[in-house]
């Protein structure tokens, strides 16, 4: 009596059995039938469709309103948020970030020397595709690359000093339209596609994709809180979350979302998160930077 039934059942559910494998393939093929074939990546067309999707669902919202995330959906929450923004809790982070940013490295260089325009007013251009390495570089990763180039240790990409620095840099881009560029380079397009696939793929034991919450269920309540639409969601990062009690980066939020659906998060500097940030931020192109932000 060694759980024979269970094992058979298990095989069926796992899709390990050969017959089942065929069934899986058929299901997959069937699912793919209705769509255009996995065609060439067309970020511009995706962007249009993405923004149109939300504008059809929430006709009263203007594009720029999406940077206010969940606060478009509840007057009660919005009023509290506005009161908190009167003296925003991320002020300390911006202040500390500016001090760190202005501090010279031991070799005499500084963060400003690593960025175009001395790092001021450029946050809207990130993530960027680096043609040398063929990788996507988020603003946080760029800060770390700057540090290591000058003999300093890389910082945590999720919170603390790096989040403060990025918060300060982002504050100097306030209101500037997000301007993520996807060059006509196979590697850049592949990174974009990988980010897109990550965003829409269900994962974790709860079988949620990023899109399940932030596209399909956007504007709906999940345990008392409104889900922010994916459109505009990156604009407020880094963000001070009352729940955290400090400022965290976009990648910190990725990690949190992954854990929430019972999925082991990727590494903060992984290709998965770089590509996800690339795709997701690109989807908000044209919306104003509103970071650092404050959320519950």
């Amino acid at each position: 009596m060694r759980a024979g039934v269970n094992r058979a059942g298990a095989r069926m559910a796992w899709g390990e059995d050969k017959t089942m494998k065929r069934v899986w393939l058929m299901i997959a093929a069937f699912a793919a039938l209705g769509l255009a074939r996995p065609a060439k990546a067309d970020p511009a067309a995706d962007l249009k469709a993405f923004q149109r999707y939300f504008q059809t669902r929430f006709p009263k919202l203007e594009l720029k309103d999406y940077v206010n995330g969940p606060y478009n959906f509840s007057a009660n929450d919005r009023a509290q948020w506005k009161q908190i923004l009167e003296f925003p809790p991320y002020s300390f982070a911006v202040d500390a970030g500016k001090k760190a940013f202005d501090t010279k490295f031991p070799d005499g260089a500084s963060y400003a020397s690593c960025f175009p325009h001395g790092g001021i007013g450029i946050a809207q251009d990130y993530p960027k595709f680096d043609e040398k390495t063929g990788k996507v570089v988020t603003i946080g990763i760029a800060v770390n690359e700057c540090r290591t180039r000058h003999g300093l240790k890389a910082l945590s990409l999720t919170k603390g000093e790096l989040a403060d620095i990025v918060a300060y840099m982002t504050s100097t881009s306030d209101g500037k339209p997000i301007h993520v560029v996807i060059p006509n380079d196979k590697r850049a397009l592949a990174a974009y596609e990988a980010g897109k696939e990550y965003f829409y793929s269900r994962r974790g034991q709860l079988n949620f994709s990023c899109a399940s919450c932030h596209v399909q269920a956007a504007g709906k309540r999940l345990r008392g809180q409104y889900l922010a639409p994916a459109l505009g969601i990156t604009a407020s990062f880094p963000v001070y979350r009352s729940k955290w009690g400090n400022v965290g980066t976009l990648v910190r939020r990725f990690i949190g979302c992954n854990k929430k659906v019972r999925s082991v998060p990727a590494k903060p500097d992984s290709a998965a998160y770089r590509d996800l940030a690339y795709f997701l931020t690109y989807m908000s192109n044209g919306l104003p930077i509103a970071g650092p932000g404050a959320r519950s």
Binding site: F58, R78, F87, D95, R223, S242
Partner: protein, 164 residues
Amino acid sequence: MMTEPETTGPARRTVLLGAAGAAAALALPRSGRAAAVAAPKASLWPEAAFKATTPDPALKALWGSSSLTPTTQVKMDAPDIAENGAVVPISVDANEPKITGVALLARHNPYSLACAYEIPEGTSPAISSRLKLAKTTEVIAVVKSGGKLYSTSKRVKVTLGGCG
């Protein structure tokens, strides 16, 4: 959904500038600045009032009375539902003459008294701050004027924050 969506851009920007401007005057403790400001005396803190678990003994310990006169002259702005119980913005204002004290109490917090203020002459009783509410509770604003206590209260619902 909100009928009048608006962005926060400009207002937010002002705030940031304000904070950054003030940052110039940012000071570290005991930094020996020329205009040194003396630290308050810890002994002033009304410990018994803050250790009381219900409003009545808290007010008795604080101001010697728990007899409240509800009035519309005391105004409190608090949300119907707290977005996050850890940070609930609450403002008080009052129209009574000669106000010398303002206090906020949350009936169902572990300790009811949240904060109390001494209002010297010339200072307005209008005070905004952010409080923690452990669960759904009546929040009571009390104002001390001419030896009497005036109050208003409001129930604030606290739900569990969900998304993680």
